[in-house]
Symmetry: C2
Subunit: 339 residues, 2 copies
DNA sequence: CTGAAAGCGCTTACAG
DNA sequence: CTGAAAGCGCTTACAG
């Protein structure tokens, strides 16, 4: 990049000392430096296209304006939307991000955190691909750190999570509200923590309404698995009038199954999906009613908490923030007889 | 994080000078330091859990082991898969990544590159969401930089791109090879550079075979648009026996349209899609035959070129690397009469 | 074979 | 109101 101008170069050109340059450029000259000199510095900086070397600044101030992000691959791959949202907010706050992948093993996590620590990051963000319990290693609880989409069972580190159980409940309530009694639930593998919560919330809402749910468990969260399960459900002796899917890929499969069987949504089957932020259910015809995970809000909140902690210097108590998953109404829900 | 141990601490504990610590830990002690002292240093470092402060190292060596990534939002959002692949390879090479979003405007690009420059990144990676021509600002061409999924029309900066035209051609050839003559093409908006290339390649292959293609242009790359277009195509007077979709979301829509109409793939319609790496066409039933963009290979190559440039110190000539898009056979192609 | 010294580019008390 | 000096934690010629 050629040689970059340094504060010394600016000082030389402006005819002042290096300290003066630093003060003026950092806005601490407030009357301590004559207006003429201030102008000279500003002008010299402009002409030399001077911008301070962030590495040198960091070494001196021991603040890097960098957040470390630790993430890993889950059943649906990386939490790309959460990561993108976190990056957006961080940049808005004037922080850069250094991301590390790690296997969820303790050794790997520790190694990645060490690398981030050497890099002198100002804080850490742990972003889980699937909602889970996360046991933080001690380095984490000792420094500014926030968990996103996971939570510390020991409550030592602040976590920001979606209310997945509430999302499952809400999906069911939409159908109950339209008068459905024959409601089925199609989920991914139930041993998966996140799916378990979603399904659990849905089942609980059904039980509360005195409905014994018909439950199907797909082998995997995939479109084809959804199609297979959907076909089985719809060709059974007495198919339900409504269905909740715990993931939108399953919902796509169900729509394909219904189309194949000549059945219409919502006339023959009302459908509500929990969303995984891939924008699939929104593009189906009819648009599928869904309960979404508020990735943008969650990520923004996590970054807000983290940066204000860094900037205030004192640790807030460890909280668990639970975010409501909002309902987005499509056109896939009608009454039990298509009404 | 409490106070981290410094090289001085290690030197004190080991009873040697700071220089000795640095030499031993960087493996440059080769006989210059007695074996006993080397052991003492290593041992002290271990006991203090010493790891060098990367910021201080960077300031001294003027190497950060950080790559700057510049990216922006395209029609399908961010190029998340390319970014994930680039991160993976970078970490494998011992480089961290700092990512910046920028609008594709020159001002924004310039600002983001300036931030990255202040951070003293060792090199820059420009990752485009959709294949395009990218006019690099001068800072880029003056430092180690590689373009991923875009290319410099002026050929000053190395670019790594997929052969989208070839992908379009290949999709058609699969159908021609099975004896189809009635082949339609469903694309996204043709004024989109990437879509234009895909469609162009397909049309060219069709023309070469003496086939005048039936072309449909969806208003947007969405499932529902694909479904609408697919329905129109399949209910027309004389529907084609085969179809190429330029994007997998369109293919999902076509599958839904076919299912609704009681038509089967591939018996009634053979289908080939160009893939956008969302793993949708792979999860349809039947699995859709597709031509994929080799994101992992492209990203790995871009990072390889960039890091070896950084490490060798001298700029390689600006190249344009074009990557072949491989065919992945599903079960969505048969002969014109379902044979 | 080893240690003392310089210096990367900054910021910030501290004298004058 | 301003400049000279120290120091962040490292690496690397350079004396001894």
């Amino acid at each position: 990049m050629g040689r970059r101008a340094t504060a010394q170069d600016v000082a030389d050109l402006a005819g002042v000392s290096r300290s003066a340059v630093s003060l003026v450029l950092n806005g601490r000259a407030k009357g301590a430096t004559s207006a003429v000199k201030q102008e000279a510095v500003l002008d010299a900086a402009r002409r030399l296209e001077y911008t301070p070397n962030a590495v040198a600044q960091s070494l001196r101030t021991s603040r890097t304006q960098i957040l470390g992000v630790l993430t890993w691959r889950g059943v649906g791959g990386l939490p790309l939307h959460l990561l993108a949202a976190a990056l957006q907010t961080s940049l808005d706050h004037g922080y850069k991000l250094i991301k590390m992948y790690a296997e969820p093993t303790e050794l790997d996590q520790r190694r990645a955190l060490a690398t981030l620590g050497n890099q002198q990051v100002d804080g850490m963000l742990v972003v889980a691909p699937d909602l889970c319990e996360y046991e933080p290693v001690e380095t984490l609880s000792a420094s500014p750190a926030v968990l996103l989409n996971c939570q510390d069972p020991g409550q030592r580190v602040t976590g920001v999570v979606p209310d997945e159980e509430g999302a499952g409940r809400r999906a069911v309530e939409v159908l109950l509200g339209r008068g459905h009694h024959d409601i089925a639930l199609l989920s991914g593998p139930l041993d998966h923590f996140q799916t378990g919560l979603r399904a659990g919330g849905a089942v609980q809402a059904l039980r509360t309404a005195g409905i014994r749910p018909q439950q199907l468990e797909a082998g995997d969260v995939r479109i084809d698995e959804g199609q297979t399960a959907g076909t089985a459900l719809l060709t059974a002796g007495r198919p339900p009038t409504a269905l909740v899917c715990t993931n939108e890929r399953l919902a796509v499969g169900v729509m394909l199954a219904a189309a194949r069987l000549g059945l219409s949504v919502p006339e023959d089957l009302s459908l509500v999906s929990l969303d995984d932020r891939e924008q699939l259910s929104a593009q189906l015809t009819p648009e599928v009613t869904r309960v979404e995970r508020p990735d943008d809000l969650m990520a923004a909140h996590a970054v807000d908490v983290l940066t204000s902690w860094i900037e205030s210097g004192d640790a807030p108590g460890a909280h668990a923030y639970s975010f409501v998953c909002p309902l987005v109404e499509g056109a896939s829900v009608a009454g039990p007889r298509g009404g």
